[in-house]
Symmetry: C2
Subunit: 372 residues, 2 copies
């Protein structure tokens, strides 16, 4: 099976082998070594001298932690959304009592840093900005560096980033860009099964933490930090997933992060080119298209759900559908983590075959790269 | 390594093999089958016709979910504590704004149902009762049936149970005893690695849920229920741990739950007898001693931390220390989940050997079962 959804992503054999290892005492010296090594390696990938805390949860748990650990009920928060997960970020903030000011951009477009500037200028009471680095639902990567320049450089507000489907696959130098809180999750570029989520905290974030009164217990990062100092976690962690992440981080650092980023860029470009060669259109403009997931429009007259089912049935390739308003209108191909050129070539060939079976004929005649 | 802590517990080979399987789409038909089968089997073990929701978190996350999904800030909650995890339950309730009335019993004793009756009689405003079924920190099992009789039968209040280290190992017929919310976690009697927590909700709990205003997002059980109806989870679940739990539940039901309960009772008794044969005292009276974990007093003059380290060093047996106020004063032997007579015999022999190395000589002369 060629699993080409944007997470869970396929895991290398070495990682799966580690995940299947026997249990150990999560408060013993052997596990402490793993926790400390994983944390040190995560810091390298996050490019931060701050703290990185690892939680047993999905990425959504880390998004919740990112909010509740630095804000108080009533705090004004600017929630920048370019899709499904940006909306989720705002929803979590609302549930915990933030005064959410929504700044939404059409699905398939990126956030405009100038609009963020205007919003922050218009309301000095805004305490922080929530933003998605890479929007998994639309295959768009925001220009986080430019956004950070506005939020931190011009206004010095808290910058809270959902980097779940970007960090570890595309460059995100956390300290250099001055991101205060950055959340990611094991089942994306980290080539590890789901079950762990990782959150970085800057010095500024810890200062905010001391005053933040949103309720938190399981996701209390202060408690996580105190336990981490002795190589532990407050509650029993997903030991198996720690084993896997430990091995996966070794593989990533062995490849070298520059190599990882280049591979993602190259394979993403190949995916976009291949989709266009099939006569298909991308949801997002190429300049903002994600290097971890591509959202491709389902051609008129084709049933999106049938297409996805047929791709799996005919070719054992699993691609994802659209979320929310884009359900049935797009399909998504994940190309993050443990991914090769061959993986996306096969996925595109499978899409071409399924489209042909569904009677779709694309306009671009004579293009040798399309399906036969 | 003989892992004899009260969780994570050792996993059968078949479970570990399943845990190491490749990823699949968590929104696809194959995973839906697993989610629905796991849920159906969990209901059999919970003995409930209500709902059982599976969360990606440790047991503490399930405790948080158990509280925030049925209470509102300001609600009066009676928190019955007989140890470390009872205190944690109360702490979570406090963090989320409950008015906590603490009813604490000395560590090593069980909760007195009559004291619960008095507390409920004295304050009709108490909306619910939080109680630990089996207190992992002290090796004591509360008489949950008697407590439920008071809380439900006499006062009809919400009964919220931490059954993390009991359910699946000792009888807890959720519907028969009328427990409204019951939380447990994969790494205990379920013979599965940590990463999943399971929470049952009665009809009465769902009614409370509609009015409960404590903030919750990641742990929102209403959302979990809506997704479960189509065999999914709101966020990406710990897929590997689901694979493992699926296999483990098959093993448990194949053994038969009556067989599982009898095995736990038999091995627990053997552990207690063996500890006494070494001249050691149990923290708890035998009548309330847990069938999943035994807390044994460290003899006077012996350094508890050294004892535990030596047991591991000499015999490759991992036992647990005391928590909170009992740190250094007791050690704990876990005997839940995938456990045999031989496992506890070896653990006791290891303790005997380490005690001898530390110069401890017990009073009971001529007992053939003691260390040489």
């Amino acid at each position: 099976m060629n699993l080409r959804i944007p997470g869970p992503t396929p895991c290398p054999d070495e990682v799966l082998e580690a995940v299947g290892r026997p249990m150990m005492n999560h408060r013993g010296p052997e596990f402490r070594d793993i926790v400390l090594r994983v944390t040190e390696r995560l810091k390298q990938v996050f490019q931060t001298k701050g703290d990185v805390l690892t939680l047993t949860s999905s990425g959504t748990g880390a998004m919740e932690a990112a909010i509740t650990n630095v804000f108080s009920p009533g705090d004004k928060v600017l929630c920048v959304s370019i899709g499904y997960f940006g909306d989720r970020f705002a929803d979590i903030a609302k549930v915990y009592g933030a005064q959410v000011q929504a700044l939404a951009f059409p699905w398939g477009t990126a956030a405009d840093p100038d609009r963020i500037r205007q919003a922050l200028k218009a309301d000095p009471a805004i305490k922080g900005v929530l933003v998605t680095h890479n929007e998994t639902s639309t295959g768009v990567t925001n220009d986080l560096q430019a956004i950070a320049h506005v939020v931190k450089g011009e206004f010095d507000r808290l910058l809270v980033v959902d980097a779940i489907s970007s960090l570890g696959s595309v460059p995100l130098p956390v300290d250099e860009w001055r991101c205060d809180v950055v959340a990611t999750a094991s089942q994306k570029g980290w080539m590890t099964p789901p079950g762990l989520a990782m959150v970085s905290m800057s010095q500024r974030a810890w200062e905010a933490n001391t005053k933040a009164t949103m309720p938190r217990y399981y996701f209390d990062l202060g408690s996580a930090k105190r336990y981490l100092d002795r190589g532990q976690t407050p509650a029993t962690p997903a030991v198996s997933i720690f084993y896997g992440l430990d091995v996966a981080l070794g593989l990533m650092l062995h490849e070298g992060m520059e190599g990882v980023y280049k591979r993602h860029a190259r394979i993403a470009q190949r995916t976009r080119d291949g989709a266009k060669a099939l006569g298909l259109s991308l949801l997002a403009d190429e300049r903002i298209a994600s290097n971890t997931v591509s959202a491709v429009k389902v051609p008129d007259g084709v049933d999106g759900r049938k297409l996805i089912a047929l791709v799996q049935e005919q070719s054992k390739v699993v691609i994802a559908g659209g979320q929310g308003a884009q359900e049935g209108k797009i399909f998504r191909i994940g190309h993050l983590g443990h991914v090769t050129e061959q993986n996306v070539d096969e996925a595109l060939a499978a899409v071409g075959k399924a489209l042909a079976s569904l009677g779709y004929q694309h306009a671009k005649a004579g293009d040798g790269r399309t399906h036969a």
